[in-house]
Symmetry: D4
């Protein structure tokens, strides 16, 4: 009644519906996730806080909760860990972006991609990025996660050949306006191979990168 | 002096620097484009109005001007038309989005992709989209171009397996706020396989789609 | 002193004044609601949180509190449940929009309309909407409730002949800007038979739909 | 190619597709309007400036151009002027709102409704509104058009029983922000029977009002 | 050190410096208010929450705290209650605006004006305003306090000869954007004798009205 | 038909309706102004550009056009120039604010006040303001006109005993956002005796100041 | 892994990397600060709340926590207190700006500058500023900290010869929009020798001022 | 009357008042500039379009007009070209930023500084910046001019020891919102030694840099 699971999503788009955890009770989520398990071999929920996760895990102990990424994930035992060759690079600017970066990384891993994490390489100390460039340039697709001025997106975009998915974060304060500065920065990137998802949407970043790597 | 051509861009990112035509004089552009021709086999400029294009073409008659897309393009005769298999689908919501859609299509073609155009299939008459679904679903990557409420992005995103690049346009008036409504709509899409570029940035849409198709 | 009840509202507009529960103490509300009961046969309050409702219900046990919709409602026993033929369809995009959708549904029911609920049929899985289309198309008026990109409004608007009242919700995060994305989306709908009320204003959505159904 | 006419729109929603005149060339519009005439008995285009209209009328002299409303309209001779009983009241606040008010009035008339115009009755001289109240209160539905602070919507909403469609206009300057003040005002109306359409969207106002009157 | 009291403010502007209570500790406020008492015969602080007030009152029991207005006030016993003829009318739209209206009323009283309160006369039931019109029209100056669409300002402005100070409140939700709708509404009033102060600035409203009444 | 003159405005508010010149044709304005002359002894129109004024003056040569203030004004020969004692001081920050300052000054003069102009005394050279302080402090009411950061309002507000009406102007560029910076500055003034009117609303500034001076 | 310390920052820019305390756990901060101590003789962290500071100080008792400025600071015993001649003046408008002003002062002191504090000299009582002018004019560089309308920046900018760094604060409410009013005010200053940092960024203000003083 | 020249500005701040050319007539400017020449040895005006400049130059042929920077400048023959050691580096991201960069450069030169121009070194091709680093790092102060995402500010800020003044430009389109993206980017820079001036304010950038270099 309160939920009409999109059970054919996997058939249409390649991955089952992912449950948006905000604004749902733990009870609603248990019902939805159980139904998902009947129709799919992988199931995921995002933006689940620690308390709600604990309640859900009592009913659904097969799920794994990742506290930094705030995700719940389950995969049928018959499903392999890695489904595709190549790897997704998840690059973030500062330690404070960790939670969003992990949401991206866990999402891509949940979809069957290998992930390499390159964290805390923001442009204020740009040599840190150059040190990691070979690792980043070897990726099939890149997620770049940055708050504040979000400049990492443009800098990286000019250095790689594969598509870059930019995830602005709300890290910062004042004229950051909860992530607006990084969002606008990324949308206005003068390096062309970048496209952007919503502020703090690590899930969307990881999903798009995995989609590209899976091609 | 006024321009330091990024002549190694092609080596680093796979495609030579594209010239942003706004805020440059025809004279500056001729100098820049001539230098590009020395270093690369393809050269492109965007956002060039008809008058500026006419002046440039006097000096550079080998370039082709596309008045709807407002692009200038040149390719060395040794370069093939199509470099990659598969095709990019460029889908737009209304006739008024044509200029941005063509900028995307021409960009992807300039980069060596085949392009299929599916125009004027906005959600107010959604059956028009469903009629074209097989064509769209066969693409390697999709550019979706829409103004006003930009709903086409989400609808399409839930119907296809390949990555979707969404281009909001400034088509509309009033609370459209020059494309803000479509931009926010696309960034907040509840269909996950979508990422977004700047308002009216057909170039960025075509570029990212071509990048994915070239993988 | 602090409240001048608009006791002729029902005569002028067809329905008694509805009390806005935010920013009022439980004590103020009891006094206002009691006065309303003297002049009208139906009385309603919106945006009443659970704690305030509990205090009020001690004094006014004849009222019914609906915790999801956060409404208080009372109707004189002489009043029938349903006053008008036809029905209002309340359609929402996701499970997280439930609270606003229920506020709309309860409002329309309080005003004497029959209501059919069609929940969780967002455009990312558009077939869910098509499955319910006959039910929706049979309505006298429709309330469509959606957050994030709010695309459901436009899609629905192109499929029905009766008026659609769109209610954007604040469901989402980041560039959703507390409902701005859905609001702008709905205001810019290219499907013409839609009009919009305030973000999270389920009450306004239900009220307008009931008004139309009562014609 | 550039336009996929939504020829079944009339069947689905009760009125044929209306052409949005901005961003289309006169040539494109002639082709679209001619096709519309083959499938429907009424055809309309909005936001057509005087020069474009003149060019179109050379090819399509059966159309009528309304310069204040900036609309083009044609109706097959077999079609009656008035299709429905009752009438739509179009009420506007100031003389400067005339163009939007006329767009609403012409739209409702084109859809077969009788229209009564009540112009220049803004709240700064509120007795002007009260003088016209009987005429307004007799309507089946009301379009209220106002710029600047848009207060007319709320005032009227508290005085009538039928649904009110509010159209904010961009009339004003400074902190009017091109109609934002009137838009927000109308969306936040404390009178409940009001719903809002886009800034300057007289077409949407007239369309919704006609839809309600046609019930 | 942390505070340089503006002890000549009264000489320059007619009233001593008023302490802004937010962002100051109770300790800081006690020191400032004590110093004020040495230089002036009246002292006031605004935006003081209940807990901070309690701490301050322990040290400064001669002050009066008004919990609805959130003000602290002290006047030397030699000072008369009323200093000026005429009266300030404080008019508010809804019960939820009470706190801001009281801040205005208390401020004007503290400055030596008589105040008449006319509360809950919003435009949705406009006859309530007309019932009170003689009282309002007899005032020397008027403070009008309203949230949501803030239409009361314009309506009143067209009905009176004395200056009107408009105070927008943050009462409302959604596209009210914390008072922006009422603020813009009041700034764009088409009735000319209105000027506006900050959102929720009852203090400023009362101050300006008292200033005018004191002329 | 297109205009319902508010002929009792003078009786209700003390001054006849003033015509808003934007968005009206010269023909409409001539009709309106002629009617005004039948009912009132003073008539005024604002925001009239030079060309429109010229057309109007052909029909209404008794009117005076002030090109800097962009106002039209007429007064019956029986009316005295000055109706009230005291004077209004109109103070502006820079030479570029002249047009708005003159609109304020002309308005106050039209309403029968004496006006003293103190121009180009912005805070970047604050001694210029101090030089003129005696003249300003002698006024019955003050209009302060400033663009860019609008700081003049607060500075002045702390130096005078009479009410200050602040008029933000759109003078500036970039993050001035067409006057938003000066508007917000004035609304947030920490000097309490200031109230604000719309951006570039010299008319409102002069009107309110004249109202106060006429008390 | 989660942090790649920019250990060469001091070499490149003259001061070691400063840790942004928001969004990091106490554990992460201890690890980062310990590493900093190995590579540098001074170490600083900003925006550290009292509770987090307490946890960190257990592990790193050599650090000093400044509760008003919310900073952690450590300096090797071999390092002198003052490294440069001249002094930085930190000027703030009101007592409520203290926390940001102290962040600026502590930062400049941590970098080896002498600092003179001039607090609570806002423009509403401008003589307070003039009293302190000799002290301010003797500085090598000035940080000006102000909320609400932020006018102090422009006033000061017109009175001094050295560079002024303006720090807008979020002190205020309503149309202050969390510091936007002060930010825009400072960016639009008509006094030319001012540049601005982020809202509440006392750190940036102090850093830039110290940089200039160290020249 | 319309202008009170701030003739002591030079004494107070080190440089005579600079005339803001927008919103002034050529006649007003001639009068102001002539007066400036009587009191100062250098005189400058900004934002003067070509046509206005031509008119002014007829009266004041000793002035030099710089069409790209849109500045007028005059210096007494007794004044030396260069007054200070060291140099200002003006660095810009793209050719389209030229006009703002030149305004900065000409301003600094007018104030007696040597200037080195480093143009078109945006982050999309970051090696171009590294090639010029020695030149940039040798400067006493740096102006960085960039539009679109404005990332150049942060990147540069992390590579130099001297203060950086960031000038966001309105170059770009769409979600650039006339320079907002670059402005927010620069204000949120995670590299600390940067402060920002208004969008397109090359004058402010050059002025602050020259001030620092003159120390
Ligand atoms: N003035 C208008 N405002 C908003 N939508 C409109 C207007 N006129 C026509 N439309 C809608 O715009 C769509 C046509 O888009 P297009 O394909 O660009 O002509 C149709 O679905 C119409 O319902
Ligand atoms: N973190 C997320 N951000 C954006 N969309 C999401 C997120 N997690 C899940 N979704 C999408 O939200 C939709 C589910 O909405 P609901 O019915 O409310 O669960 C699905 O279509 C998902 O693709
Ligand atoms: N391009 C500019 N941007 C910002 N402020 C400027 C500019 N040019 C001049 N100014 C300042 O504007 C003020 C002059 O204002 P006005 O009296 O209108 O000429 C002076 O204080 C200058 O410092
Ligand atoms: N509620 C209020 N809203 C706006 N300004 C206020 C308010 N209360 C006091 N003020 C002003 O704030 C200034 C005091 O600032 P502070 O030094 O922080 O106490 C005084 O100039 C008062 O006029
Ligand atoms: Mg770090
Ligand atoms: Mg179409
Ligand atoms: Mg769902
Ligand atoms: Mg009128
Ligand atoms: Mg009430
Ligand atoms: Mg000046
Ligand atoms: Mg103070
Ligand atoms: Mg370039």
């Amino acid at each position: 009644n309160f939920a009409k699971l999109d059970i054919e999503r996997e058939k249409r788009t390649g991955f089952p519906e992912v449950v948006f955890g905000e604004g749902k009770t733990a009870e609603q989520m248990v019902i939805i996730l159980k139904r998902l398990q009947q129709y799919a071999k992988r199931a995921m929920a995002t933006r689940v806080d620690e308390q709600k996760a604990a309640t859900i895990l009592k009913d659904l102990p097969q799920f794994t909760y990742h506290p930094i990424a705030r995700t719940l994930y389950w995969k049928h035992e018959s499903e392999p860990d890695v489904l595709y060759g190549g790897y997704v690079a998840v690059v973030c600017a500062g330690t404070s972006d960790l939670s969003v970066a992990e949401e991206a990384a866990i999402t891509a891993e949940s979809m069957g991609c290998e992930v390499k994490r390159v964290y805390d390489v923001g442009v204020a100390g740009i040599h840190r990025l150059f040190d990691q460039l070979p690792l980043i340039q070897g990726a099939s697709s890149i997620v770049v996660v940055a708050g504040m001025e979000g400049a990492l997106g443009s800098v990286l975009g000019g250095l790689v050949t594969c598509p870059v998915i930019a995830v602005p974060t709300s890290v910062g304060y004042g004229a950051n306006f909860n992530g607006l500065s990084a969002l606008l920065s990324m949308l206005n990137s003068c390096a062309p191979g970048i496209s952007t998802v919503n502020i703090d949407n690590g899930f969307g970043g990881g999903y798009n990168a995995a989609l590209i790597t899976s091609l």
